[in-house]
Symmetry: C2
Subunit: 256 residues, 2 copies
Amino acid sequence: MSYAALQQPIPVSNRAFASLPSAVEGSLQRIGDMLQLIEQSVPITKRVVHAGDSVYQAGQEFECLYVVNAGFFKMVNLSSEGREQVVGLHLKGDWLGLDGMATSQYGCDAIAMDTGELWAIRYDDLLRASLRTPALLTALHQTMSRELVREQDSMLSMCTLSADARVAGFLRYWAEALAQRGLRTDQFTLRMTRAEIGNYLGMTLESVSRALSRLARGDVIRFSEKGRRDIHIPHVEALTAFMQRGSAATAAVALH
Amino acid sequence: MSYAALQQPIPVSNRAFASLPSAVEGSLQRIGDMLQLIEQSVPITKRVVHAGDSVYQAGQEFECLYVVNAGFFKMVNLSSEGREQVVGLHLKGDWLGLDGMATSQYGCDAIAMDTGELWAIRYDDLLRASLRTPALLTALHQTMSRELVREQDSMLSMCTLSADARVAGFLRYWAEALAQRGLRTDQFTLRMTRAEIGNYLGMTLESVSRALSRLARGDVIRFSEKGRRDIHIPHVEALTAFMQRGSAATAAVALH
DNA sequence: CGTTCATTTGAGAAACCTCAAGATTGGTGG
DNA sequence: CCACCAATCTTGAGGTTTCTCAAATGAACG
């Protein structure tokens, strides 16, 4: 195999999203292309899961990576003394199980939050396939690297932002994640309880509730009539402004 | 190349540490073997750095990974609004620059805290070499995975532990990192200011200082006469006990 | 020996958590 | 369809932890 083959980009396809902003279009394409690449070049075992199902558990022997084709998943890190922390949330195109390569045992529990479909890929199959299809390798590396960056950003947020700002940041992150997958971003349903959001953001469920109430009071977000889990975001920029200025009132004013 | 070649372990050598505990021996060996493997199979450019030098900066184009052969480095994540967070500390055998593979730009600043030597490896060279030497690939994956797990553990600590417990955990982590590299672990010099430790742990420098004072009052640690940066740890287990029980007095009692 | 930076320690303020009560939601069986 | 139950969510009051501000001490270096 030539070196040039290693550098070839993931094949481009699926240009049906020209009307989307380019960054979002790029992500959508990247995810779609990656899934296509995997399906074409690696043996995969498809697996359907339902809300509450465990994909794998901490300590279990590492064999497979899982690529999310549909659904919504959380990664839970559990300390030896029982402290528990949601350390990641994953949607279509994300990989699960990357934490298992270090020690040959998974380091977290991966739990389905909804009905979904996973593609299980044996790590040894992936390595073998990457000899023929080097783009697989760069896709894996980019995925791992992106995950590292995301965790670093989480640490930055948790250490430097107030509780209110972290909640605003979470909503913005969530809206972005949905946009990257071609879903509507102005209105969506949080599929997590306040307790789960709080755990992910390092605060209590009461603090999450209060933060959301303050965001709603400042008209940065609106609750749907259907329930307090449906959230309408008139202007994503208002969330950003809120994070920086630290006051819903200021954020609302800043837009007009 | 056969599939079997992909699975072969990193060559074993350097069995001179039989007296060390096996986990530590394993790590020492792993690090030494990895460095040897890299030196033998990839083109590297050695680079000497001094305290304060920047290895790379956020936004700079990603080309190289850096393996630490000597010295001590911090990774600093900087948000667009100027919030700043130390997201990682790295010693011999660690890789720097993994955060650059996602976007082809580094995501953090990497800064030398001390005189040290880095081995720069071009990412494309690494991919090419990994065709001949598949162990390089598994070493890279294990490194990235270990880093993911470490960051997840950081998040768990920052979200679920008190300030005192986080400082105790930091000292324990540090002692472990030194032990894994064959250095003495009962007494060492913190090469960071209280402010840097605090930034890394998500608290203020005053909180770090108070936590260290409480640890010293409980005789979990002792300050050397030479200065408050030299720390003596009589029993590493006392740090663990302190983290779990949340009181230096209890931790001291628990040992006798 | 003085200047500068780092560290310690205290007192008061702010953010967040805990506890508790009541409201809302979603599902279930009558 | 309605009533009821369990789970979730909101909101308030008070407590705890951590931060902020300030001052004094200690260490490093010319």
